[in-house]
Symmetry: C2
Subunit: 364 residues, 2 copies
């Protein structure tokens, strides 16, 4: 993973600790995603996971949460996966005295707050826990050692923003923008290409690390075909952030050049893009790939307190990279401004959209 010219990839990690702006305290919306996919994961395991094959070479089932952050969402998701596998085990075997053991690897960037993650591990967990620091854009585990990969709202993060966005002589120069909303095709394409490269590396690494018959379940923001990106929730969130930064430029609090040289290292793919990348890799059967709702409903988002919560979530997730680029002095003002814009944002457009991709892959 190369260093980005605009921000340090290691700062893409969520806020640590358990303070006011921590991810631990500001991640219940992602929690809705975990809940929304709970049943789907249970179904995928019940219908598609063949434990007899997996347990023919190992007495241990190894599970990974890729991009786990700090909790508590990761613990809920892992608990659900283990319970689903245990149900499946009881359905496939009669001898429940020989239940498999579980080893769970919590993975995120090295800058993730593993100390907080470890100290909040469920005391009564029925698994052996380990933390694995490192980017999912690369190898993390030995060959053929993992039985189940899980990832929730992490795969939209790039290893870095495309370099050409910084090149004043390129048609991809992303002047006055921090993302590809309302940008020329060249900028969108630069992002899409960077994303495709990253997912190719991701799939290649996971294919090596997984055992044959192993399962990968991933959900992440997706762009419903035919809907302009700026009208999706993720698109709107980033547009409001950009607009808040541009206000600060107008007031002379940050420079135009600072905004020009900052590009969010995120891309929201369509189902078709992801489908093509998985097929190109060729190591996986696609058991399921569908657009879903992120589990946040109209009644939840259409309130002022939810609006505030969303702003806090964005801050917990992006504060570190914003501070690195723009300095800590402007951060409170930036988010106050963002909160105000967010209040005026038409929340009601969100919940009707299926803006998340739910993917179940099986290693051939």
């Amino acid at each position: 993973m190369g260093a980005s010219a605009t921000t340090t990839p290691e700062l893409y990690a969520m806020n640590g600790g358990d303070g006011r702006f921590s991810y631990a305290k500001n991640s219940f919306l992602q929690g809705h995603s975990v809940n929304a996919s709970k049943e789907k994961i249970g179904e995928a395991i019940a219908e598609k996971l063949d434990l007899k094959i997996l347990l023919s070479t190992s007495k241990t089932i190894r599970i990974v949460d890729v991009g786990c952050s700090v909790g508590p969402n990761t613990f809920l998701a892992i608990q659900n996966i283990i319970e689903s596998i245990e149900r499946k085990y009881q359905a496939q075997y009669l001898n429940i005295n020989q239940k498999p053991e579980f080893q769970v690897f919590f993975n995120d960037l090295t800058s993730n707050d593993f100390n907080t993650l470890f100290s909040s591990l469920p005391p009564n967990r029925q698994y052996f826990a380990a933390g694995v620091p490192g980017s999912f854009h690369g190898r993390l585990f030995p060959e053929g050692s993992i039985h189940f990969f899980y990832s929730c709202i992490a795969l939209h993060i790039l290893s870095k923003a495309p370099e050409e966005l910084l090149d004043k002589n390129s048609p991809s120069w992303n002047k006055g923008r921090i993302h590809y909303i309302n940008a020329p095709d060249e900028v969108v394409n630069a992002y899409a290409t960077q994303y495709a490269k990253g997912i190719e590396i991701f799939l290649d690494a996971r294919a090596k690390e997984m055992v044959s018959g192993g399962m990968a379940v991933m959900s992440f923001p997706a762009n419903p075909t035919g809907i302009p990106y700026s009208q999706t929730f993720t698109g709107a969130m980033f547009e409001l952030l950009e607009s808040s930064l541009l206000d600060l430029v107008k007031e002379g609090k940050i420079s135009e050049a600072q905004v020009d040289s900052f590009n969010l290292p995120m891309y929201v793919p369509s189902l078709e893009e992801m489908m093509e990348l998985v097929q190109k890799n060729g190591c996986f059967d696609i058991e399921k790939m569908e657009l879903t709702s992120p589990g946040v409903h109209a009644s939840m988002t259409n309130t002022s307190s939810m609006g505030k919560a969303i702003v806090m979530h964005v801050r917990a997730g992006m504060e570190r990279m914003l501070i690195q680029h723009f300095g800590s002095e402007i951060i409170d003002e930036l988010f106050n401004r963002y909160a105000k814009k967010f209040e005026e944002f038409p929340h009601h457009v969100l919940p009707s959209k299926k803006v998340q991709l739910f993917v179940v892959l099986k290693r051939k």
Copy 2:
């Protein structure tokens, strides 16, 4: 692992971060131990590790550092183990294109500073790294999954100080002392019993976790038979700490009751005690068990700067539990006093002694 009446086991971890009193900055003496055992470990691997057996069931060699703390010692030790295994591999096999992969688990208490550990992992490491939080007095890994256990200066730490030391009605009441130096036999026995229980649990857990043919290499403080504990280096270190605390009692800065209720959760066994515990467990062949020098020489210790360094080492290792029990207000004064006493300590008695036990076990 139950909670101690005197200190919280989780606070037995070394100081984190990389500040003045951090373990990262105050662990070069342990580094001498790592160096001193480097050659011995290489020999044990060359002569006793059968890679054909280990690799018959796995393409990955899994290595654990039990009680790794923060670094850099753990990285040096792991590097040495991996290089020794690779040399052995080249001696046993001709096809070096199919070299095994290595997965290294860095284990320490949950309160260990894993964030600092992870951020200082060698960038060019030839292994997959994971952190495993939890006490070695219990299971940490799935059954039959580990090929090599390593531990340096950790096994003398108890899961807790013996409870009966706090009982005023017991002959083991440890009034006016913080350890078993100059204590009645009942106190020494309480410590020895607690230690034996802990090592039984340790050996039982490791026996389950290791593959047949796997190796465990451990070195830790030991008490040479026939030498009074107070004349060993560890014994003297603790006696000086006790004496410093008693000075603070005399001056009314801490209470007598505070000293009475504090007992160091550490025990330094003899070779014979350890031998008996391993034989009682029965799952291991003893390939080597010998008293060694900790690798610190007269020329090093007999200087004022080394004396200061040792004091800093003790502080890095024990500050957290001392602060929890006595409060942070007295900690600077305590260590100033300790440093002064240490200066008057006859360093020359130390290096001639073999005060470390080097143990190589092989899982049957």
